[in-house]
Symmetry: C2
Subunit: 187 residues, 2 copies
């Protein structure tokens, strides 16, 4: 019998880590089992659809994270617009560990099961882009330009993460994040 209970949030976090570090095909049931501390049969009990269910579940959690830590912060927090943006960007920096961690969205957006994940992945990018656009508009930028600049900000995050890890230089990511307020017309 298990002496320590397995907390669901810990399981979610570990599953996310394995998918993010190894990709969908690289994340074997064995790795997922070792990381969570749950035997394979237990994982299948929680996720009857197997790996695909686990990855879909992880992505739904990521979507929720972006809603809470980016969208809600920018739309509903009682702070000046530049501080709401800073708070969201800080959360994003922490999520990606200043450029040291891969993006789960990207890691799961190019595998054989991607069609099952595509909608949630696109939703995450849309949340991010719409939130950035809201900041720019609130600061006086014209709406269609704001949408363009917001998409550029999302592109900068993804692109700089790719390069940071390929070049082993987290400054690339950090510089890109630091440039987003200016890109959106702030400061």
């Amino acid at each position: 019998m298990a002496v320590t209970k397995v907390v669901p949030e810990d399981v979610d976090r570990k599953l996310s880590e394995v998918f993010t570090n190894f990709g969908y095909d690289g994340a074997s049931m064995e790795l997922l089992s070792q990381a969570t501390g749950l035997k394979k049969a237990s994982l299948y009990h929680r996720f009857p659809g197997g790996k695909r269910d686990m990855a879909a579940h992880v992505l739904k959690k990521v979507e929720l994270w972006f809603q809470q830590n980016v969208q809600d912060v920018i739309e509903h927090e009682n702070l000046p617009v530049e501080e709401r943006l800073e708070k969201a960007l800080l959360a994003i920096s922490n999520l990606f560990e200043d450029g040291a961690k891969n993006c789960s969205l990207r890691m799961l957006s190019a595998c054989s099961e991607t069609p099952y994940f595509q909608e949630t992945i696109a939703s995450c990018f849309t949340i991010l882009s719409n939130s950035f656009a809201k900041v720019a508009v609130e600061n006086g930028m014209e709406e269609s330009l704001a949408k363009t600049k917001a998409q550029e900000a999302v592109i900068n995050i993804q692109g700089s993460l790719v390069l940071s890890r390929a070049m082993k230089d987290n400054n690339i990511f950090q510089t890109s994040i630091a440039g987003i307020p200016h890109l959106l017309g702030l400061s």
Copy 2:
């Protein structure tokens, strides 16, 4: 017996396609065999180190491609600087099929074998970045700013490819490519 000879260039291209579409772990020997038309034992004859050798070989070809189609074009072609940049950007657009195709560098930069590929992948990004910087400097931009802008251009290419495929909208990639001359101080 084989009626048609297997041309090495075709094998290289097919190997690249499978790794680019499925990633390293998703590219099974069976898929690689079917795509090239060579049986598994024949692939091992050509690449004694197996999949790792194949991926490393593919990446060396990609590096050569960037040297010939970007670096050499920008450094040695007898054309005005803006036309050399346009030519290189057109080659890049074709390489990624206007945003419809994944980037092999990115697909191979996050798997268990990545340490063996890291140097070549970083070299490709460096070639691209240095070439863009050269364009900007040639056009009068101060050198350290040129380096920053060139890196932004590479980030835009990678990031827009990620987003284009996640959002199923090739315009994202095409718009990013179209913005690179301006980013580097041209037009």
